[in-house]
Amino acid sequence: MLWPSSRTSCCATRIACSKPMEKAVNQATLPPKLPPAFERKVEVRGFLQWINAPERRGALLVTPALATLFLINILPLLWSFGLSFFNYRANRLTAPKFQGLENYTDLLGDDRVWERFVTTGLIVSSSVALQLLIGFGLALLFAKKFPMRRLALMFVLTPMMLSFVSVAIFFKLFYDPTLGMLSWFISLFTGESFALLATPAGAIAGIVIADAWMWSPFVMLLVLAGLVSVPGYLYEAAEIDRAPSWKRFRTITFPYVKSLLLLALLFRTIETFKTFDLVFLITEGGPGSTTETIAIYAYRLGFQFFRTSEASALAYMILFVVIVLTSIYLYVVKQRNASEGV
C-alpha cells in the first residue's frame, strides 16, 4: 500500500529486515559510511523501514484508529473527569476552583438525583421486560418459513433501524389528544379526548411503549438466531420419547436461546439506561420532571443551568454503570463464543 513493500530490492530496504541472517549479509556488503548527501534520505527511508517492520505491523495498523479515538473520545473523557472536580460553569469567566469530590458528594446527597435514578430505573426495567416478552413472542411466531417471510420480517425489524426523531414523531401523533388514534379510540368508550402524556404515569407508559415498540425487534432478532440454530434431530428425538411440549421447550429450545437472551437483556439495559433522545423528544421530561431520566438531567445541568462541572460528575456516574454492564456483556459474549467454538 502506501509504504514500500519489503520486497523492493534496494540495499537500504534490507537494513531494517528482521531476519538476522540477511542483516549480517547486507551489513557486510554496505559501505562502512554513507556519503553525507545521502544521510538524510536514508534516515527518512530508514524510518519507514523501521515502522514497516513485520514485528511492528499490528501496532502500525492500529495507531491511526487509537489516535483518532484518543483525540475524539478519550481526551474529552479525561477532560470531563478533570472538570468534575472543579466548580466550573461554562457561562462564567471566573477561574474555576478545585473542590475535590464535592460535586460527587453533593449529587449523591441530592434527592433530585435519586428521583431521576428511580425514574430511569423504572423506565429501564419496564421497557426491557416488555422488550424481552414481545421479542420472544415475535421470535417464536417468525421461527418458521412461510410465504413472503422476508417482507413480513422487514415490517417487524424496521423500527429499530429508524431514528429516535421519527419514532418520537410517530408516537407524538399517536398520543395526541385531538388528532391521535389513541385518544380517538378511548373517546369511543368515554366520550372524552384522552391525553396520555398529561399524567406522570401515562407519560412513563407512553415512553415505555414507544421504546418497547422500537427495540422488541432487537430481542426478536437475537432469539430468532437461537431458535433456528436448534438442530432438528433433537426435536425428533423428543418426539420419539414423547416429551411434553413444555419439557421440549425447557430442555431443548431454551438452552439454545438462553445466552442470546441474556445478551439481549444486557445490551438493551445499557442502551435504555442512557436513553435521552426518545424521552427528550416525546415528553421533554414532563409533566414537571416526572419522566426526566438521569441522562436528561445531566443534559439540563450542563446546557440549561450551565453547572458544567456538576453535569460532568453526574455523567461519570452514568458512565460507571455503563462500563460495569459492558464488561458483563463482553464476559457473556466470550463465554458463549468459547462454548460454541465460534
Binding site: 491511526p64 472538570l83 424496521t158 421519527s166 407524538k172 435521552f276 460532568s312
Partner: protein
Amino acid sequence: MASGFRTHDQAGPVRTFFAWLVGIIYFAPVFWIVLTAFKTRADALAIPPKLVFAPTLDNFRAVFFQTSTTGEVTGSGVWLYFANSAFIAGSSVLLALIIGTLAAYAFSRYPLKGNDTYLFVILSTRMLPPIVVIIPIFLVFRLTGLSGSYIGIILLYTGFNLPFSIWMMKSFFDDLNPEVEDSARMDGSGDWSVFGRIALPQVKAGLAATSVFALILTWNEFIFALLLTGPETRTVPVAIASTIGGEIGVDWGKLSAMVSLFLIPVFIVTFALQNQLLRGVTFGTVRK
C-alpha cells in the same frame, strides 16, 4: 455469511396468518405517518382518522418548494439539510471505515499485547453515554470555532463510527480462513499485498454491511447534531425535531412528508441487509 434466521421448517396456515397479522400491526405506526404524508390538511385532522381518502402530493411539494416566513423548515432549507445529512454521514463513514478496517485487520491477525483490553476500551467508547463526551467537546468546539462547521461534526462522527467499524470488521476478518493468507505468504506475497489482495476482497460484503450500518447510525444521530451543528450544517433529524417543539400549529401533513422522505434510505437498507442485521445491531459481537 451467517444469516441468523434461515430455517427449513414450514409454518402452518394459522401461524402464517398470525405472523402476517402481527407484522402488519407492528408496522402500523410507520404506515400511518406515510399515509398522513399523502393527506390534505383537512383529511389529516379528521376525527375519526380517515383510512380512505383522496391522496395528494401537496405535502411533498410544500416540503421542497414552499418558502415560508414563519420559520418553518421548508423550501431551500430542506434541500440543504438533506445534503448536509448525506455529506456529513458519507465522509465520516468513509474515514472511519478506512481507519477502522486497518485496525480491525491488525486486531484480528496481529494481536497486540493486551489486545482484549484495547478492544474493550474501544467498545466502551461506543457504549458510553453521549452526555459524557459532549460537555468537553462542546467547550472545545466553542473555543476553536469548530462548532457549526462541517469539519467539527465530521471528525466527531468519525470517532463515533470508528469503534463500530473496528468491531464489525474484526468479526468479518475473524470469519476468514487464515490458511488462505498463510499460503499466499508462502508463495512470497508481502503482508501488504496479502491484506490488499487476499483478505480485503474476501470481506467485501462485510465492508458494505459495515458502511451501510454506520451510514444509518450517523444519518439518524440526534443529540450531537443538536448541540454541535449550526444553521448551515444542520442535519435532518435536528430540523425535524425543531418543528415539533410547539404544541400548536404542527403541520402534520408536511411533517409526515418530511419524515417519510427521511425514512426511505432506511427501508431500503433494512430490506437489503436483512442477513447482516444481527451482526450489525450487536456491533459484530453476535454472529450467529
